[in-house]
Symmetry: C2
Subunit: 159 residues, 2 copies
DNA sequence: TCATTTTACGTAACCAGTTACATAAAAAAG
DNA sequence: CTTTTTTATGTAACTGGTTACGTAAAATGA
């Protein structure tokens, strides 16, 4: 079966990126379910952040991951429900909720680290004959950070 | 602001792909809204398919785009509501719904083609110093088609 | 020809994101 | 001080995907 998105060349690119990212997401969910791991795809990001910084607020996570704050709230609420994250409110700024990893999280991390390692190795293999992929992805991200996609199109239309 | 996902290297890749694909999706929606165009991101895929094949069923679209059939039904229902798609049921197989572009779609397509052209040119520019991106993306897709991501991990764990 | 299996479509419930809006606390400005 | 603006968080409604399940028609096979 030929891939119509590929045949569209440039016009199919964003849909292919979405397809790839959705595939990774749903297969990873399925993987964790099969292995009976109490974790979701992308929770690793929060674990990694809190490993690196110990304590962070919702907004700090939101900025560092470049995710909207409601998205972070949703992830964090689930991780609180499973007992991986503890929160308390900042004494000097009562608006802020300070997040840190629980003892349970520290213990579970050992299991999680080993599966993440396998996943990373497999992704490495998928990229084994793609030596420019990461670097070129970064170039695209950088360009879009300098000027966003929508604005690029608007400017072009006004030329 | 440094990008934490980038710092995660391989481990941040799938989240970066999701972030990029979400960004393109939401900015494109926003773009069409600003321009008052009665179209959604990814409707172009259906337009292109029906331009190429004139008539297709839900399942044929689903296979060619590698999207689940409920996803196709949702897109197509919206496009029917805006009057771009006409349907009738196959005489010789009453299960099948045959889809084709309406006259309205053919007229609107002229406007849409011109904005898609600008979008494609801009994406081309984003990729201008990424000569391997499309080709390497395809390599990854091919590998995942040969054996899916989940199975790769499972196999590795059983080694 | 009739029972069984497969296929096409549809619906429901879920998921991970978004934007838009509300509220309360902190910071800035008068 | 007090008013105004900004910031941190939370909630609601929406979006474009998914899987799971149901149903009717077609194809298969005994």
């Amino acid at each position: 079966m030929d891939d119509f998105l590929k045949a569209l060349e440039i016009e199919g690119l964003t849909s292919r990126l979405k397809r790839l990212s959705d595939t990774m997401l749903y297969e990873t969910k399925d993987l964790y379910k099969s292995l009976d791991l109490e974790i979701e795809p992308n929770w690793n990001l929060i674990f990694r952040l809190l490993q690196a910084y110990q304590e962070l607020t919702i907004m700090e996570i939101s900025e560092r991951l470049q995710l909207s704050h409601p998205a972070v709230i949703k992830i964090v609420n689930k991780m609180k429900k499973t007992g991986y994250i503890l929160t308390y409110s900042d004494k000097s700024d009562k608006r802020k909720q300070i997040l840190r990893l629980s003892e349970k999280a520290m213990v579970k991390l050992r299991d999680f680290e080993s599966i993440w390692e396998v996943q990373n190795a497999e992704i490495g293999k998928l990229l084994s004959d793609c030596p420019h992929f990461m670097e070129e992805l970064e170039k695209v991200e950088t360009k879009l950070r300098e000027q966003n996609y929508k604005q690029r199109i608007i400017n072009k239309l006004n030329e």
